[in-house]
Symmetry: C2
Subunit: 347 residues, 2 copies
Amino acid sequence: MNNNLSSLRVRDIGEQGLLERLQRFCPPDIIGDDAAVLETLPNQSLIVTTDMLVDGVHFSDLTTSPEDAGWRAAAANLSDLAAMGATPMGITVGLGLPPDVTVSWVERLYQGMTECLSKYHIPIVGGDIVRSPITTLAITAFGQANPNFIIRRATAQLEDVIVVTGTHGGSRVGLELLLHPHIGQHLKPEQKQALITTHQRPNPRLDVLPILWEIVESQSKIQNLKSKITVAGMDSSDGLADAILQICRASNVGAIIESSKIPLPSAFEEWLTPEKSLEYALYGGEDFELVLCLPPKPALALVQQLGTSAAIIGTITPEPTVILHHEKTEIPDQVLSLSQGFQHFSQ
Amino acid sequence: MNNNLSSLRVRDIGEQGLLERLQRFCPPDIIGDDAAVLETLPNQSLIVTTDMLVDGVHFSDLTTSPEDAGWRAAAANLSDLAAMGATPMGITVGLGLPPDVTVSWVERLYQGMTECLSKYHIPIVGGDIVRSPITTLAITAFGQANPNFIIRRATAQLEDVIVVTGTHGGSRVGLELLLHPHIGQHLKPEQKQALITTHQRPNPRLDVLPILWEIVESQSKIQNLKSKITVAGMDSSDGLADAILQICRASNVGAIIESSKIPLPSAFEEWLTPEKSLEYALYGGEDFELVLCLPPKPALALVQQLGTSAAIIGTITPEPTVILHHEKTEIPDQVLSLSQGFQHFSQ
């Protein structure tokens, strides 16, 4: 990179100058009015989510390149849309910047964001750049969804089973490997890198939705159901345990989870104890997978179509508690809770 | 107010505790999922705008109460939607807060925001509250518009005239009165307060839209036009001069503005010189009025229906310059520009 360019700071070109440079990351036909205009499909609901990220609180140059910070910020918002069953339409980006941030840092942030967004053909449709003592990123993502196919937390039902997409725990272990490079010495370099990539470049599971809806529609037809099969769920951004507990609380049900069924990254087995693996899987967070509750037949079809990266890990129960069951071990059942669940397990 | 309550700080109840307290400002049926769900009308485009506001840069406790900061932030975003011809659907609010901000301050901010929003029946549909070294407010507003009735900057045409809604300059003078309470001594208290209120509680001109569209539809019919009358425009948040120049640049046209036609707050005439009045009107900013370009007949009908608060101030011309003409004076015509236009005028 040209040294002159890489040392150019925001104060040298001002917010307006920076905005002009960043316009190459946005579709040209959308820029230039007081607001962006986007076409919508008929009979769809609008789905909106927003996130705010602050330097030193939510990202840091110590562990995260600007490209990765951008990717992760975009991915987190897209994951919220995926968790609602929505097709993303675009995002807006608000950016607060100290004047001594380099232009290169900002362009690398946008590079990472657009790398993630372009995987799903999603544009940045608007933004605002302002002076601030601390680098701050505010993203709002919006999508559309058929009102009959919206995934909510509060609609889990008795006899539903719980499906998770992908493995859990990898993002947190990837972060540990970044923070403490001396650990995981006997992991193969590619295993180590895979875990780090899981942390740096999470993939929102928008790919699950078309598969899910096809199964729901065909099974609703086969079973001649009066109303379509309902899918409840959310994403596991705040941890798998949190997702299960939130869904159960919102739906006024409980669940029994089979610990051995939770898919883990392959490196965990040869490196971590079962207890530690489970701790990371349940409480690690930021895996951005989907946790879905639906009847057993469509659930099985979904898991089969998604392949080894998905599993049925439990069942919805009437009692409003979430039980963690450890098959083939002598560990007694445990009651999961956000505040103390895992501390109890670790004893 | 209860002293205990007013001294409660964000650190005492945490972001989660604060979020729970702020939920009373949001419709209860919208909260609780990964994203908000909103119904849309068929065949409408989605219109999205976003703003970021930082303590000490865009608002300050020295001049602005938290209620007014909230009102102004909401109004600015709604004004962007009005400027596009869009009907607002909702806003999201991202909030970065230092732990020592009082809960009362945040609640007063939300109080001001919802006071403005409720005038137009617009809900806060989502948000994010995070820890930050500096109070930061990120608002995204979204609305819907009939694709045939979207107001853009780039569609001003020859023979259009330029309409402004409301008076200009009042917001900036209101700010001056707040910053320097000793000025404007001979203004009546109610005049002073009116100017201060113009600054503290600007009204986005959403009320203009139904009147405008009715005139456009009926005149298009009367004149038996093949295609509907096009309305170009934007809001005057960055100043009236800026709005006229931006529209002309985007439309590749020019304009001639009659300085005596620009509506001013009534207090200006007895207090300020004509030069100073015009400087505030053109460059003061934050009046959040609409600047619209449309053919003379519907323009006249619009001004008549809006009453004394609106005027035709000029005409679109082919030459790509904006000329300020001073009728009945010996001041020569001036060329308006953003960078030097007014400095020239002040000489």
